[in-house]
């Protein structure tokens, strides 16, 4: 047996992070060529928008996709962001799990430090070409140019070429990646991603040149930057044992009391003492000397202490008005509504759910409603079935709100439902960030948000029905009055009945009691915000395209 073990040991070695993901690229959203194009664009654009927001810059992002033939595409994303300092460029683009956002609890699009380097790696795997990056941090400094690859065994950047250069931009970053991909329009396309991004981020300008060299500009709808999301420290309720042990080891504070007070949010002197008491630990203990068992006790102590919920100014919701406006831009409907829920907390992480509905109008009356999902202002186009949003929708009874629905299915009707979940840490089901995990607190909040919108929808649909019935009744009056008069003439003789006079009197009599009516007929010209060009963008392709993975 020992020999066998020795033999086996020869085959046992480290697995590189990059190596792992290069084999499992579907985990990162590169499972097919069409999706790869969307994912690459998305990772770069998300980073640009995050960087701009952190630096308080109104983002202007240029996206260009060039068809290089033979299923190769060049994806170029250029932003007016703060730029990246020279030293960091190779690591950010050439090392997986490297980034600024993972250790911070702050609402941002990216959160893991995988996305853009994964795109670089995918490009390198499928085309063998390095990614080309230009970045400039200040008008007075030169731009830095890099050609980068990833050493997938070591998960380290491999610098193919580096140079200084002139770049007319004041500051910003330009990424160019060649990848194997395919370009298609439709529901899960790069076009759709850019459009939804523009809708949900009205302060962003996107200039998009598609592989057919057609340029589309999504101009910003507002100069107002969204409220900046603040970074927060972790909340004690959200900390798990492993992380706590890490934090204990690395902290600079020398007493447990100070550690708790300074490394967590919502922990003051009193709360810290309470936690220590509940954990049967001394506040004066040195954090670094805490044993594993003691750390476990600490977790237990936290659980048994009442701690107020984390602050919620760390989240910046889109807001009711902008959601409605975005829907108006994209969909020409009869009725719009939106709501933003008050913040709630899952696992110590604050989050906010928002929802919006566009009903009727030019939307198709048959088939399932259209669901638009967003997480931290990023559109989610894949894995709809696996997402907490979809689950919350199917578990809601939509019939009282005027949509038809078979049991536990997505409702049907001429309706678009938008749901946005914003959090300092969005719990995605996988690294490709396509679906949000099913935390009970999140399900509850999503349901409350869609019900709030649902009620508004329901009252509109009912009103519409009432008006329709009323119109029908009125048409009844018009229809049958002549028959009453005709019969009276037959019964009493032509001379006894003055047709016009009796008809008028009857009409007056019957309509007397019926008040004025709101005209709820759909008027396509009524929606001033509707942007037909935007709405049609990306729709010229056949509507239904293969949904390999969404077939589940």
């Amino acid at each position: 047996m020992a020999i066998k073990a020795v033999e086996l040991a020869k085959g046992q070695r480290d697995i590189g992070v990059a190596e792992f993901f290069s084999r499992n690229r579907h985990l990162l959203g590169f499972d097919n060529k069409k999706k790869a194009l969307m994912t690459t664009t998305k990772e770069a654009v998300d980073n640009s928008l995050d960087a701009c927001e952190e630096s308080n810059i109104l983002p202007e992002v240029q996206v260009e996709i060039i068809d290089m033939k033979n299923d190769r595409f060049r994806v170029i994303i250029e932003d007016n962001g703060p730029g990246i300092i020279k030293k960091q460029i190779p690591k950010i683009f050439g090392k997986l799990l490297y980034g600024s956002k993972f250790h911070k609890l702050k609402m941002s699009r990216g959160q893991q430090g995988i996305g853009i380097s994964a795109s670089v790696m995918y490009g390198q795997l499928t085309t063998g070409r390095p990614a080309k990056i230009i970045s400039k941090i200040d008008p007075t400094e030169p731009a830095h140019y890099y050609e980068l690859k990833i050493d997938t065994k070591k998960n380290k950047p491999e610098i193919v070429k580096e140079a200084m250069m002139d770049w007319p931009k004041e500051h910003g970053t330009r990424v160019e990646i060649d990848i194997e991909a395919s370009y298609q329009g439709g529901m899960q396309s790069v076009d759709q991603y850019l459009k939804e991004t523009a809708i949900i981020n009205p302060h962003v300008t996107i200039i998009y040149t598609n592989p057919k060299a057609q340029q589309t500009i999504f101009p910003r709808a507002t100069e107002k930057k969204p409220k900046e999301a603040k970074e927060i420290k972790p909340h004690p309720y959200g900390v798990e044992l492993g992380i706590l042990i890490d934090m204990l080891k690395t902290t600079e504070f020398r007493t447990l009391q100070a550690f708790l007070q300074n490394e967590f949010t919502r922990v003051g002197a009193g709360t810290a003492k309470q936690i220590c008491e509940n954990a049967a630990l001394l506040p004066k203990n040195h954090p670094k000397r805490l044993s594993c068992e003691q750390a476990e006790k600490l977790i237990d102590g936290i659980k048994r202490t009442k701690i107020i919920a984390p602050p919620t100014d760390s989240i910046s919701p889109i807001g009711k008005e902008l959601i409605e406006k975005g829907l108006r831009k994209e969909i020409n409907a009869e009725f719009y509504c939106a709501c933003t829920r008050p913040p709630n907390v899952y696992r110590g992480n604050p989050f906010i759910v928002e929802a919006g509905i566009a009903y009727g109008g030019a939307q198709e009356a048959e088939g399932q409603i259209n669901i638009m999902r967003f997480a931290n202002k990023v559109p989610l186009l894949y894995q709809q079935g696996a997402c907490v949003i979809t689950k919350s929708i199917t578990q809601t009874n939509w019939r009282p709100y005027g949509l038809s629905q078979s049991n536990n299915a997505i409702p049907q009707g001429p309706c678009t439902l938008l749901v946005h979940i914003a959090s300092v840490w969005v719990p995605f089901t996988s690294e490709s960030k396509e679906a949000i995990a099913h935390y009970p607190e999140i399900i509850k909040e999503v349901k409350l948000a869609i019900r709030e919108c649902g009620r508004m929808l329901g009252s509109y649909v009912n009103k519409k029905k009432r008006v329709k019935d009323e119109f029908k009744k009125r048409s009844y009056i018009e229809k049958y009055i002549p028959h009453v008069v005709e019969a009276l003439k037959e019964l009493l003789g032509e001379k006894a009945v003055d047709t016009a006079r009796v008809e008028n009197m009857l009409k007056e009599l019957l309509e007397k009691k019926r008040g004025k009516l709101d005209d709820l007929k759909f008027d396509p010209a009524k929606n001033k915000d509707f942007d037909e060009e935007l709405s049609n963008f990306g729709k010229d392709k056949p509507k239904k395209i293969e949904n390999e993975e969404d077939a589940t």
């Binding site: 019969a487 009197m505 019957l510």
Partner: protein, 360 residues
């Protein structure tokens, strides 16, 4: 001018008058249901209590209102031209009314019944006749009818139909009768009627057999009533032993229905007696039975609660309770268990001899 036409014109003029005054015109008619009748034991039929329903002209009733007026107009035309129309024909006439036409015949029948009740006459008097056949007759009876062409009397001998029968026409007012029979036996099913004709039962017991074929039609009820009244004949009723037989058939024949309460006076047969099959017969004759369905039991409860006729007769209340406990029902033809001729040789003679075994 006939009374009916005067009444129709009076109602129409009332409607026009209201419209001219810009007030809502209303058509009033008695409510046609068991809730609106009471049993008059002295006269022996259901009479109207007098609750009225009103059809006011509003946006939601404008269609039926127009249809009612048009139906009245059709009725007026029919009377004036001394013509008649069947219910089905009236329904087809409405097809000329454009938007106000009836989609299905039940709609036009309802409006016709409303007008009939509004006028407090039977539908023949407003020019409409039913489609349905009246029933079959065999036995010691001569019906005197008129030849439609010559107007001469025709004598129809109901003993001379062999294994067939004389068919009651839809209007029986003009018929005259000659008979020496001792009683009338009204039978629910055509099958039992055939059996009795086959055995020449009418000859043996000197009677008139009438097959009602389910719930008796108005013509059938009126035929029996006139025949019984004019010749002082007792009427015995023989139905299946179930609530349908007791109430839908027997009770309707004897005292009338809620739906046509305004004409019960003429269409009831107050001296009818129920000879079988009674709940007691099921036990006495050990008849094969079928289980009663929940809906049957409910019908029994309903009769106890709402039927003024049942409420008046303790015997019927006892019978219902007994049958509800048995939870069984028996058909007339179940008597065949004791032999095909048992009904003629034993059952009917025994029952007719013993009035204590009847129900009122």
């Amino acid at each position: 001018m006939s009374k009916v036409i005067i009444e129709i014109k009076r109602i129409a003029a009332g409607v026009l008058n209201k419209i001219s005054k810009k007030t809502v015109p209303i058509l009033r008619m008695p409510i046609r249901s068991l809730q609106n009748v009471k049993y008059n034991p002295k006269e022996g039929y259901f009479e109207l209590v007098g609750r009225m329903k009103e059809r006011a002209l509003t946006a939601s009733t404008v269609k039926t209102f127009a249809q009612s007026l048009r139906m009245m107009s059709l009725s007026k035309d029919l009377i004036e031209s001394d013509d008649i129309a069947t219910k089905r024909e009236a329904y087809y006439v409405s097809k000329n009314w454009g938007e106000a036409r009836f989609k299905e015949q039940p709609e036009s029948d309802t409006i016709m019944d409303d007008i009939e009740a509004m006028m407090m006459v039977n539908r023949e008097q407003i020019g409409f006749i039913p489609e349905e056949k009246g029933g079959d007759v065999a036995g010691k009876l001569i019906v005197i009818d008129k030849d439609p062409d010559s107007g001469k009397d025709i004598r129809i001998d109901c003993t001379k139909f062999g294994s067939g029968a004389y068919s009651i026409p839809s209007s029986v007012e003009g018929l005259k009768f000659e008979t020496k029979a001792k009683f009338i036996l009204a039978i629910e099913t055509a099958g039992m009627f055939q059996r009795l004709v086959k055995h020449n039962y009418w000859k043996k017991s000197n009677c008139i057999l009438i097959s009602m074929g389910g719930v008796p039609t108005r013509a059938c009820r009126r035929f029996i009533r006139r025949l019984s009244d004019e010749n002082k004949l007792p009427v015995y009723v023989f139905t299946d032993g179930d609530f349908y037989g007791y109430f839908n058939i027997y009770r309707t024949l004897k005292v009338g229905s809620g739906n046509a309460a305004h004409i019960n006076q003429f269409f009831c047969v107050p001296n009818a007696m129920f000879i079988g099959i009674t709940p007691q017969d099921i036990i006495d004759y050990k008849l094969p039975t079928h289980p009663m369905k929940d809906i049957d039991i409910k019908r029994g409860k309903d009769a106890l609660k709402n039927d003024p006729f049942v409420k008046h007769h303790k015997e019927w209340q006892r019978a219902i309770k007994m049958q509800t406990q048995l939870k069984k029902r028996a058909e007339q033809q179940a008597l065949a268990k004791w032999g095909l001729s048992y009904v003629v040789s034993d059952y009917l003679p025994q029952k007719l001899k013993n009035p204590k075994k009847w129900l009122p």
